[in-house]
């Protein structure tokens, strides 16, 4: 049964992948100006020789009908060919994969810290509904939503790097080179990511926990004579964790944007920073590649979340 569900989910992905790739492909098409010049990174009136221009035009297949161009591009994509970066002079996919590791540290670390903070805090806020703790949690959530990330990051730099001098403001060290230095560099960006995600997770965890507490199974568990603590931390938490998983999955798209901002503030060499640098150098093959890469990450994570559902809640089946 579970395999059937996974298979159906995979089939459902096909139209979505088609739409996503079409959007990326046609967004590149609607760019004002000559796509050949744009692809060559020569938009500001720079001179390009005839040979280079024609080579690029044929390379891009612009002499063919649009639908053929799209299919050709899609076929290349399926082979992992995102094109060649103009500034790096290597395959775009290679450039992206190189930058992936630092981003993964930031994303995964930030998510883990966020869940560790937000899940217990959300449960406590729900159990002590309408008390000082609950109000404090709500204030944290509202602040987390209202305060712009890049500004929070700058204030963090101001306090911990400029005034206190505890941590470096920018940069990155690989963990295999100097682990302590790696931790020092990643501490601020990771905290900003974690705080931001924690606010959202806390909000949903608290709300779902409150709703779960009203369910019949809670009354049954209480009627059986189970202690309140056991009901809350075993029965209710288990059920509301499903919501938390969904929220984390839905946050993936948001997280890519968040990562881009945070990496920009801290000059942190991940794929978000790569995206901005490629925009600056007008290396549109890489821009396109990073956008596609991020979208596929979102789709894959949501697929994994859906499959994990069936493990967490055996009642979910494809219908």
């Amino acid at each position: 049964m579970r395999l059937r569900y996974i298979a159906m989910r995979l089939v459902q992905l096909i139209p979505m992948v088609l739409v996503v790739t079409m959007v990326v492909f046609f967004v590149m098409m609607i760019v004002p100006g000559d796509p050949v010049m744009v692809m060559l990174g020569a938009v500001d009136g720079a001179q390009v020789s005839r040979e280079v221009y024609d080579a690029m035009r044929i390379h891009l297949g612009l002499d063919q009908p649009l639908i053929v161009q799209y299919l050709h591009w899609l076929a290349n994509l399926l082979h992992g060919d995102l094109g060649t970066s103009i500034t790096h002079r290597t395959a775009a996919l290679e450039v992206i994969v190189q930058r992936l590791v630092p981003t993964m540290y930031l994303m995964v670390g930030g998510l883990i810290i966020a869940v560790i903070i937000a899940v217990p805090a959300g449960v406590l806020a729900a159990i002590h509904n309408n008390t000082k703790w609950d109000h404090l949690a709500t204030a944290f959530v509202v602040a987390g939503i209202s305060v712009p990330t890049f500004w929070l990051a700058l204030v963090a730099v101001l306090i911990f790097a400029v005034y206190l001098g505890w941590l470096p403001a920018i940069g990155y060290t690989r963990p295999q080179d100097d682990f302590v230095d790696f931790l020092k560099h990643i501490a601020l960006p990771m905290s900003v990511v974690a705080l931001n995600i924690a606010a959202t997770v806390l909000r949903f965890q608290r709300q779902d926990f409150l709703e779960q507490m009203q369910q019949d199974y809670v009354r049954t568990a209480r009627a059986k004579g189970l202690s309140e603590r056991l009901v809350q931390w075993k029965h209710v938490l288990r059920n509301s964790l499903i919501t938390t998983f969904t929220v984390v999955g839905l946050q993936m798209a948001y997280l890519s944007g968040l990562i881009t901002i945070v990496e920009s503030v801290f000059n942190y060499p991940g794929i978000g920073y790569l995206l901005l640098n490629s925009i600056r150098t007008r290396d549109f093959i890489v821009v396109q590649g990073v956008v596609l890469f991020m979208v596929f990450l979102v789709i894959v994570v949501n697929l994994i979340v859906d499959i994990l559902y069936t493990v967490l809640d055996p009642r979910i089946r494809y219908s």
Partner: protein, 305 residues
């Protein structure tokens, strides 16, 4: 419960009584939710500031005053001065205009693209509906900020491009809202009655169905406003916002980065202005949503028991 039924029957006989009941319940709602009061007042303040514009300040918006470069807040310059001695407060006031204008345009554009897509899909049904839905699902997989970044980078920043870039990823939300609204309303008696009277589908949509699904749309608009403001600020901060003569809070913070050590107020105050307006829209939107979401109301009333 009894009082409500009495009111309704009274209003049936005397239509005038109904409007006063509505007004009373609106006032009661505003008074009952602190988020609505705080958020609403803050919002009015921001709108007033944006409407009056930088002309209320005694300082000139663009004139440099080299004697007070990077000046700390004083009695003359309440929020300090920037690297060429321009008054920060005056520029923040001017920034409120860009922030609200870009966000308003983006939100309206998302509604104007999304609502017809959802309406047509649900009204026609079949393959067109399925197609629209698949496209909307695809768009929802895009990280909104990253897509906006790419769009602005490719097409170059202008007010219309910003509207579109910020609106693009919210389109599915309106399409879905309108779609589900139309689907639930389309079988109701009043719609069937209008159809029997021979009204055109467009007329039914606008005159009959739309007023009945306005509430969730209004909530979505309010919450999207907050999101649009923060995306605009983020784009400007990343160097992809409107350039001179437009003044954006995001750009102000970007410029302030180089002076973080000597003049932190340059970064702090525009950020507070941003957080304040996002907070205002979020509070009002949340208060409205909790009021309208029947699920929330139920849990609220249960809690009261």
């Amino acid at each position: 419960m009894k009082a409500q039924t009495a009111d309704e029957s009274a209003s049936f006989e005397r239509p005038a009584a109904r409007s006063s009941t509505v007004l009373r319940s609106v006032i009661a709602f505003i008074g009952s939710d602190r988020r609505f009061i705080v958020g609403g007042l803050l919002l009015i303040l921001y709108i007033l500031i944006a409407l009056t514009g930088p002309s209320i300040s005694p300082h000139d918006l663009n004139a440099p005053d080299l004697d007070v470069r990077l000046g700390a807040p004083t009695a003359t310059h309440w929020l300090g001065t920037d690297r060429i001695g321009r008054d920060v407060l005056t520029r923040i006031i001017a920034g409120s205009q860009v922030s609200l204008e870009v966000a308003a345009g983006a939100v309206l554009m998302a509604l104007m693209i999304g609502a017809p897509l959802g309406a047509v899909g649900s009204y026609v049904g079949g393959k067109i509906d399925a197609l629209v839905q698949r496209v909307m699902e695809g768009i929802m997989a895009f990280p909104s900020l990253v897509l906006a970044l790419a769009l602005v980078a490719l097409a170059g920043p202008s007010v219309v491009i910003l509207w579109f870039a910020i609106a693009f990823s919210s389109v599915p939300r309106y399409a879905r809202l309108v779609r589900s609204g139309v689907l639930t309303q389309k079988e109701r008696e009043y719609v069937l009655a209008a159809q029997a009277m021979g009204q055109s589908p467009l007329r039914i949509l606008f005159k009959q169905i739309l007023p009945n699904i306005m509430a969730p749309i209004a909530v979505q608009l309010t919450l999207d406003f907050a999101r649009a403001i923060s995306v605009e600020a983020a784009l400007s901060y990343l160097g992809l916002g409107l350039s001179v003569p437009y003044i954006s809070w995001g750009t102000m913070i970007r410029d302030a980065q180089d002076f973080l050590e000597v003049a932190p107020w340059l970064a702090i105050f525009p950020g507070l202005a941003l957080a304040g307006v996002i907070l205002a829209f979020t509070l009002v939107g949340d208060a409205l949503r909790d009021r309208m979401d029947p699920r929330m109301r139920r849990s609220l009333s249960r809690r009261m028991i």
